[in-house]
């Protein structure tokens, strides 16, 4: 394989809130290769956005390393980061609030070009618009004159216009309708193919992930609990949390009757973290082993899970 475009090593991000420390991201490592779409899934508060914000350096990581395109950007200042931003873009979660309400579409799209000293004549902007399937007469509009889907496409155009190599998409479809969502996903796929970008696609909607991505990272309480190719993880989840997550999703098919794996209780607070598995208080299969740090067990090629149930029964074979 080629060099990864992004390498995240032991990333930690803590927030201080009064006397408390919020353990938003705890020791996360992964790589993203050019042209691939990696999904990050997990429930609300699991640290997905925080991780993404660290990667594009909207936050300063507490510990760990972020290497983008071979350059360690972990400790870059805002000024040092600026050149890198051309290649490292983000599409934001909230379609409505990620566009400056006072700027016209033209201005929104022109700004990144100007900032990075790129050619910013009309053809560039029109080209970008065309890619996201908007037309010229949207140029003069302000965000409030656009529908939700259109706004999201403007946001995508803004991220893509500098032809970045890597784009973080933080739940780009969360606030969209089903049909819009599908359109958007298809558009993203086209763009990716066309521009050969790598995606880090954050979502808690697993069905969209299945539709768009190559690999998936499952996060819980700021840790990756399972990772692997989408088919592997979704069809053969090994971590109890992944299993619960998948089984909780209603399937629009009345003919299917599933046995649901219900977790008891709720996600614990990120203020204090217990060592070991994050799910230890909710898991029906919990054992003493879960209360000490658990390594990743390899399930298959590229598929790992941090759960004792995924532990390969090697020892027994030896005996």
């Amino acid at each position: 394989m080629t060099e990864p475009i992004l390498r995240v090593e032991h990333l930690v991000k803590h927030f201080r809130e009064g006397r408390h420390t919020i353990h938003a991201v705890n020791d996360v490592s992964f790589e993203v290769y050019p042209g691939e779409a990696v999904a990050v899934v997990g429930e609300s508060g699991s640290g997905k956005s925080t991780m993404a914000r660290c990667i594009i350096r909207l936050e300063r990581p507490t510990a760990g390393r972020i290497v983008f395109n071979g350059e360690d950007i972990t400790h870059h200042s805002a000024r040092q980061m600026r050149p890198a931003r051309r290649m490292l873009q983000m599409v934001f979660q909230d379609t409505h609030e990620s566009l400056n309400p006072l700027f016209s579409v033209r201005r929104i799209l022109r700004e990144p070009l100007i900032l990075h000293g790129l050619n910013h004549d009309k053809t560039q902007i029109l080209g970008a618009l065309e890619k996201v399937k908007l037309d010229q007469n949207h140029l003069g509009r302000r965000p409030h004159q656009l529908s939700g889907g259109q706004k999201q496409r403007v946001g995508m155009a803004r991220a893509m216009i500098t032809r970045p190599q890597f784009v973080v998409l933080d739940e780009p479809t969360a606030s969209l309708d089903m049909s819009l969502r599908l359109q958007t996903l298809n558009l993203l796929r086209e763009l990716q193919r066309e521009l050969n970008m790598a995606y880090l696609f954050i979502s808690h909607d697993l069905s969209t992930v299945r539709h768009l991505c190559d690999r998936v990272l499952v996060m819980y309480l700021g840790r990756i609990v399972e990772a692997g190719r989408v088919e592997d993880v979704f069809d053969h989840p090994r971590h109890v949390y992944t299993q619960a997550l998948l089984s909780a999703i209603p399937i629009p098919d009345p003919t299917i009757q599933r046995q649901r794996l219900l977790l008891s209780g709720e996600t614990p607070s990120t203020r204090q973290l217990k060592p070991g598995c994050g799910l230890q208080d909710r898991c029906p299969h919990v054992s003493a082993e879960c209360r000490v740090p658990i390594p990743f067990y390899k399930v298959s090629d590229g598929h790992v899970a941090a759960c004792r149930l995924a532990k390969p029964p090697i020892i027994e074979e030896k005996l």
Partner: protein, 273 residues
């Protein structure tokens, strides 16, 4: 399906809303459907299709600027649209109740949750203060709040969304309504919690026999929870069917379109190569 008298019948309901500029626009146009006792009725449709407005019209809680233009809402032999303000207060809560999305905001932030449930108990079951509180604790227990004694003393902001929704459900149980409307009760909750809440709703529905109108835009939820379903688009009902029929043979083009845009987690979507 029990095809006796419907509990609630919307007949040709039209509602218009007047915007800031004084222009009125229809938001519900000739909406008709029935809900029968003890069933779980689903109402699906895209955002803005008028699902919430339908629910609010039934509750008599339409925003000030929205006015019913024509039609009837038959409930118990009365047309709800003709009720006076005073009569409404006899109907709301005791006959009809509703839970909303964003449960934490739906609770009074300045009152302990136990008190909030208790005062509804007192209102509808004419109990003494003490007894009402005891009853409230019972209800909290029933909706699966562990350690309800302590939790009852919490303020809404100290509860998670899931817990808050349970409190709201307890509050509605205190009303003992004939019809409960749930407007996207799990939006904004995590999937695992969402699953818990739906389990709870199903149990309660089975136990108390409450009639339920469940509003959602998620066909998955419909297929798992509802018995019958109405599909809305642009303020109109496009199709009413049992869940089985709907998924097997969607009649209306719009319903078919909805079916086509479904993404499924249990298997790769056809469109992905």
């Amino acid at each position: 399906m029990d095809m006796t008298e419907p509990l609630l019948a919307l007949e040709n309901l039209s509602v218009t809303i007047t915007d800031n500029r004084g222009q009125s626009k229809p938001i519900l146009q000739g909406v008709s459907f029935e809900i029968y006792p003890n069933e779980v009725m689903g109402l699906v449709g895209e955002s803005g299709s008028g699902k919430s407005m339908t629910a609010l019209a039934i509750m008599g809680l339409l925003p000030r600027r929205a006015k019913p233009q024509s039609g009837h809402i038959w409930f118990n032999g009365h047309d709800l649209l003709t009720l006076s303000k005073r009569e409404w207060y006899a109907v709301r809560g005791s006959q009809l109740a509703m839970i909303f999305q964003n449960p934490r905001a739906a609770l009074n932030p300045l009152m302990r949750v136990g008190q909030q449930v208790a005062r509804v108990v007192r209102l509808h079951q004419s109990l003494k203060k003490r007894a009402a509180y005891e009853k409230a604790l019972d209800l909290l227990q029933q909706v699966g709040i562990p350690d309800s004694q302590t939790r009852a003393r919490a303020y809404p902001h100290q509860l998670s969304g899931g817990m808050a929704q349970r409190v709201l459900i307890a509050m509605m149980l205190a009303c003992q309504p004939r019809l409960l409307i749930a407007d996207e009760p799990t939006t904004g909750l995590d999937v695992t919690i969402q699953a818990q809440i739906f389990e709870l709703i199903k149990t309660i529905q089975a136990e108390f026999g409450t009639t339920l109108l469940l509003i959602t835009h998620d066909l998955g939820v419909v297929s798992e929870v509802c018995q019958r379903v109405a599909v809305m688009q642009d303020g109109k009902i496009q199709e009413v069917a049992t869940v089985g029929e709907l998924f097997a043979h969607p009649q209306h083009p719009y319903t078919q379109h909805l079916m086509n845009t479904l993404l499924r987690v249990d298997r790769p979507t056809n469109s992905r190569a």
